[in-house]
């Protein structure tokens, strides 16, 4: 590891620590750091720490899923949100709630939705045996819009009172309403990230070309299937607890490639740190900008992410 890389990683850690401090002290009431540890503020500290923990898990999970998809599709524009996976997971979860399934099975329902939406997106994008990147993005957008529409339909038709408040399925929220679910989701997401990291060498080889990777002894078809499965699992778990949060998996990996380079052995851990920081900050903004109102976090990530997406799209068209 070069010394410049060490410094970059150190800076990332400091930024995350700074974001966490900001996140626990700011809110509908601002409490100085030291007073947080007083007994009367114990409950606030606990709630904010849970939220920050979820922000870190969600950020890392989304960023690493983005990296994995970008590597196997060889397209820096791939991301669970843009490919419709998140909406699929959201729809699965909403249907499960309407049918009265317990929160314990929510991730499973979300996962089913995610897988079905991936199959649908691929079926639409497929041209012969090839899946051109632009048509994949397009079909992802279409499926995403349709599925989001169906989610809105179900929410508005539902007699389930609780669901009416659940706008966050569409725009995301890091409010922790079920600690057991958070526990389960974090186990899935953390082991998913670890599993993707195991494939970092394969991702390196595949990002220079699929045939290239075969010539380096990588079983590309198997690797692709495994990574699609893992990214769907991560996305589905996250959606079942925090709704649909877009663009994080797109912009963080892109910025980090620029800063630490595309080598996945370094890119994956660095992106986790950066995405965690980004999510903690976005969540803090969502809680404080219009306090006491809370804006869905997906609105903030979209406002920041969409312009970067446009720049990326323009640039990738420029290359062709």
């Amino acid at each position: 590891m070069t010394s410049s890389l060490r410094i970059k990683i150190l800076v990332l850690f400091i930024m995350l620590a700074f974001a966490v401090v900001l996140g626990i002290t700011k809110g509908s009431v601002n409490i100085p750091l030291l007073e947080l540890f007083l007994a009367e503020n114990r409950q606030i500290l606990y709630l904010r720490l849970l939220r920050i923990f979820l922000a870190i898990i969600a950020g890392s999970g989304l960023a690493v899923s983005g990296i994995a998809l970008q590597g196997i599709l060889r397209n820096p524009l791939a991301e669970p949100y843009l490919l419709g996976t998140s909406s699929g997971a959201g729809l699965g979860a909403v249907i499960a709630i309407i049918m009265g399934v317990g929160s314990f099975y929510l991730p499973a329902a979300a996962f089913t939705g995610a897988i079905l939406s991936i199959i649908l997106v691929y079926a639409i994008a497929k041209q012969g045996n090839r899946i051109p990147a632009q048509s994949l993005i397009l079909s992802g957008a279409i499926v995403s819009i349709v599925l989001s529409g169906i989610i809105v339909f179900f929410i508005s038709m539902s007699t389930n009172e609780a669901l009416h408040g659940f706008m966050w399925w569409l725009w995301g929220s890091l409010e922790v309403y079920d600690v057991r679910l958070l526990f389960m989701v974090s186990i899935v997401v953390l082991s998913g990230i670890a599993a993707i990291y195991v494939f970092s060498q394969d991702l390196n080889a595949m990002s220079i070309g699929e045939e290239e990777a075969i010539h380096l002894g990588i079983k590309t078809e198997t690797t692709k299937k495994i990574l699609f499965f893992i990214t769907s699992l991560i996305t589905a778990s996250l959606v079942s607890i925090s709704g649909i949060i877009g663009f994080v998996g797109l912009i963080i990996p892109h910025i980090m490639r620029f800063i630490v380079g595309p080598n996945h052995k370094v890119l994956i851990p660095c992106s986790c740190l950066a995405a965690a920081t980004f999510m903690v900050l976005c969540d803090t903004i969502s809680r404080t900008a219009f306090s006491p109102l809370e804006i869905p976090i997906g609105v903030i990530t979209a406002v920041i992410g969409a312009p970067i997406f446009v720049i990326l799209l323009k640039r990738s068209q420029g290359v062709k």
Binding site: Q201, A205, I208, E211, I214
Partner: protein
């Protein structure tokens, strides 16, 4: 010389469509410098893909050192055989050193970081291709000649006994073409690296290859030494164009001279 790679009556192509390569048998001996030529669409690249485990033959089998390659572990195969494509377009800005180190993947276990030995192998490969000075540059900033030397270095870092190349010089000017082919010749003679190369330029094939396979419509039209294969009869039959075959005044190898269509008409 013993047989290193053998294609035994193979047929194959893409998906379940009609076979592109039909009933091809081919032997590559250790130390060979074998050229594969043929018109566009004659199946040159497909043949290479069938011989390198990228495509699985519909019929027949390919063996490396006597072992069926479809039964070999993919990493085991890629420790023996490396591949250099026509052009590599890389969307991500890897450093040259990182690209060449990828050539060590077949020698590494999953999650194993490269050791000193791997870094040395990468540096050796880069110095063999005269690209060591590019080590810290980003791959997407290089010229095509530099990039191709780096890609060859990556293949050499695999420490293969057999190197496949698919028109590695078609995007390069004559200076860089000769530079790359001289390098391959050197590796062939000094390191005993066996080379199988697809080339478009008949005169380069004639100059550098010991043995040539001429493909036509997915079958072997003929094979042999440059003077056996590169006759005007063979070339005119396969390429459907009129040529005159002379001798290169320096190497005395066959030298194919093109005759433009107008001139043929005027002569008539």
């Amino acid at each position: 010389m013993d047989v290193l790679l053998k294609a035994d009556n193979i047929s194959g192509g893409y998906n379940n469509k009609e076979a592109v390569i039909r009933d091809v048998s081919l032997e590559v001996k250790r130390g060979d410098f074998l050229g594969i030529i043929g018109p566009n669409g004659s199946g040159k690249s497909t043949l290479l893909r069938l011989m390198t485990h990228v495509l699985i033959p519909q019929k027949g089998k390919v063996t490396l050192e006597g072992k069926d390659i479809t039964r070999m572990n993919l990493k085991e195969f890629s420790r023996k055989a490396a591949f250099v494509p026509q052009e590599t377009l890389i969307n991500f800005s890897f450093k040259v050193q990182e690209i060449v180190l990828m050539g060590r993947i077949p020698h590494l276990k999953r999650l194993q970081f490269e050791t000193k030995k791997d870094f040395l192998a990468a540096e050796d490969a880069l110095s063999l291709t005269d690209a060591l000075y590019l080590k810290d540059k980003e791959i997407d900033r290089l010229s095509s000649g530099e990039r191709q030397r780096v890609i060859i270095a990556k293949a050499l870092a695999q420490e293969p006994v057999l190197l496949f190349l698919d028109e590695p010089t078609s995007h390069l000017d004559i200076g860089h073409q000769i530079q790359i082919l001289d390098l391959l010749k050197k590796l062939n003679q000094e390191k005993k690296l066996t080379i199988v190369i697809v080339l478009h330029d008949l005169n380069l094939v004639s100059e550098y290859c010991d043995r040539i396979v001429l493909l036509n419509e997915g079958r072997i039209f003929c094979e042999g030494t440059p003077s056996e294969v590169l006759t005007y009869q063979n070339i005119e039959a396969v390429y459907k164009t009129i040529v005159v075959v002379n001798k290169n005044p320096i190497s005395f190898k066959p030298y194919v001279v093109l005759v433009s269509g107008n001139r043929v008409c005027r002569r008539d």
